[in-house]
Amino acid sequence: METSRENFLNKIKNSLHHSLLPQANAEHPGSFQGYRFQADAPTDKLIEDFTRELETLSGHVHVLEDAEEIAGKILEILESHQASQIIAWDDASIGVTGLREALTKTGITIKEDELSIDNAGRKTRLSEMDEVLVGLTGAHGGLADTGAVALISGPGRGRLASLLPPVHIALLPKSRLYPSLPAFLSAHSTATDNSNLVFIAGPSRTADIEMTLSMGVHGPGEVHVIIVPGR
C-alpha cells in the first residue's frame, strides 16, 4: 500500500487541530536579531580568529602573499607526503591563475575527477582517485568563529577533492572571511543553487571509542588552509 502526499498531509492537518504546541505562532518568528558577531570586523582580526580556531582543531593555517610562495607551500606539503598526484579544482575555482600548470611542470599529475554516468565506470574512476594523497580546492568562505571553510560544488569544483584524499589543502582569499556561519549564509543567498554546500571545520575526527580522539577516520586527517590575497 502506498500513502499519497495528500493523505499524508491531511493526517497532519487533522492532528494540528488537537496539538498542544507551546509558543507556536502562525507567523514566522523572523530573523534572529541577537548575533553578537562584529559585522565590520577588520580582516586582520578575522584572520587572527580564524587561525586560532582552526589550529585548536589541529588544522594548519598559512597566510601567503604571492603566487610563487603559494605554489611553493603546496609543493612542500606534497613532498612531505611523497605525493605525486593530486585531485584539484580548476584554476578559476581555486582563484590562482596558472597554479595547475605550475604544479604539472614539476611533475605532479592532476587526476581526472569526473565520475561517469555509467555505474561501472564510476566505480573504476573512484578506485583510481582513491590512490591520491592530496586534494586541492578553493573556498567560498572562511568562518572566523569556528575555523571552518565553506565549499560550494559546481563544474570544475568536485566534492571529492576535499573528501577522498587524506590531505586537504584549501586556498581561501582574505576577502572571503566571515565572522560566522549565519553571516556567511546571509551573504550567499544562492549557496544552495548547486548540489552541495559544505562547511569543513578542521580534520575528520571521531571520539566514538572511549571518548578518545582519533583524526582522519573517513575524511582528510590533515587540513591546510592557505589564506591568499584577492577576491
Binding site: M1, T3, S4, R5, F8, I12, N14, S15, L16, S19, L20, L21, P22, A24, H28, P29, F32, G34, L57, D90, A92, S93, D113, E114, N119, L126, S127, T146, A148, P155, G156, G158, R159, L160, L163, S180, L181, P182, L185, S186, T192, D193, N194, S195, N196, L197, V198, F199, I200, A201, R205, T206, A207, D208, I209, E210, T212, V217, H218, G219
Partner: protein, 478 residues
Amino acid sequence: MTTPNITFYERVEDALQDNQLYAALDLATTRLVTGRHNAFGALPEGDSLRDHARRLRAHTLANLDRYLAQFADSVERLGGHVHWAQTVDEANQYVADLARARGVKHVVKSKSMVSEELEINHVLEAQGVKVMETDLGEYIIQLANEKPSHIIAPVIHKSKEDVAKLFRAKINATDDDLIDVPKMTALARRTLSSDFLQADMGISGVNFAVAETGSICLVTNEGNGRLTTTTPRIHVALMGMERLVPTMEDLGVMLQILGRSATGQKLSVYTNIVTGARRTATNGAATGPEPDGPDEFHVVIIDNGRSKILGSELAEILYCIRCGACLNVCPVYKKIGGHAYGSVYPGPIGSVVTPGLHWIGPWSELPHASTLCGACQEVCPVRIDIPRMLLKLRDESARAGKGPAWLKRGLGLYRFAVLRPGLYRLGGRLSGWATRMLGKNGWVKKLPGPFSGWTDQRDFPVFAKKSFSQRWREERRN
C-alpha cells in the same frame, strides 16, 4: 521497532550490576556535559538563540503540512523523488523496491536514528544486499549485532578492550591494529573505504531539511556522511517528518546550537548541505556538469506515529533536534545507559517519544524512569518541557490501568487512612515504630507485605522520632 523480551525492571537490574558500564557512562557523560557547558559559556547570545530556536520549531510544527508540501515541491523541482511513508513497512518497501529496480548490490549507510526505527538493514539484507554502517560507532554496533545506546555516541557503553576483541573476532585484526584507539580507527577506515568505492546506493538520515530550497543537512564529524551522499550513484535520505526548518537562515540558527549541545563543538567537522542530485550547474560565468555526487536523489518522509504525537499534548517533543544533551544530564540515564530503555530513543527524550510513537503500548514503564528533576529541560537547546510530558504519560498509563499492582494497593491503603484522622495518626505512629525497628543507618532495605514493591527498586527512609503533627501540637502549646 522490535520490543525487548525481558521487562524494563530486569534490564535496569542488569545494567545496575554492570560496573564497567557505569564507569564508561560516567566518563562519557561527564565529558559531554562539560563540553556543552563550556561551549555555551563562550556564546553570549546562547540563551536568546535557544529561545529563538524554540519559537522556530514551534512555528514550523504548527505549519508542518504547509512546510512539508513546500519542501517536497522544492525537491521535485530539482528532479528529486519524494516518497511519503505513513508506516515503517511503507518506507522499507519503497527503498527495497528501488534497490531491486536499480540492481543495487551494495549499500553504505551513514548514521540515522530514523533508520533504527525502520530496521531497514534487515529488510535489504533479506534481499541479498550488502549493507554497511559507516559511522565508526554504528559500524562497531553492526559488527557486535547490537543496538546504539546513545543518540550521538552509539557505543558509549563499550570499552576499547571490547572493541579490540570484536575487531579480532570479526575482521581479523592483528595485535598491531589494536595498539591504541587511533590504530583501531585506522583499521576501520581501511576496511570501510572499499565499501564507499563500490557502493551502488548511499542511505543517510536528515538532521534538518530546508523547506525553501529542498536541501537536507547532515552533520557529522567523521566524513562518512559526506562520502555516503557523494560516491554512490543513488542517494536515499530517510527523514522523520518533523525535521524541517523553513529557510536557510533558520538552518543557520539551528547549526549554532546543535553542535554545542551535542558534543560541545562550536560546529561539527562536516556540515553537509545536499540540494538534489548532481546536475548542470554554474561556476561563475561558466556552465557545465558537476563532476561528482549522486545521479539520483530520493527522500523518504516518515510518519510512523509522529502525526499521533503531533495531535496530542505531547506535540512539544517534536521540537527535538536530537542533540542528546538530555541523556547526558539525566541521573537515570547516567546509571542505566541506553540499552535498559529497550527502545530506539533512550533517556528523557526516549521516555516521551517511544511511548508517544506507540501510544504507550508496551512502553508504560519508561515515563517512570525519571526523577522529574528537570535537568533535561534545563539543558535542552529548544527548552522542551520533558517533565510535564512524563507526568502526562504516567497519568495516561495509570488511567489505562498499566500501573504496577503494588503501587495501586499501596496508594489505596494510604487513601483509606488519610481520610480517617484517628487511623492516620495511629498508622503514622505504628509505621514510625516499624521503620525504626526494620531500619539500619536511617534506611529500610526491605518493607514487608504490600509495601515490598517500593523497596524492590529503592530503600525507604526511617521515619523521624516525632511526627510533624506531634511537633505542630507541641509548638502551639509553647
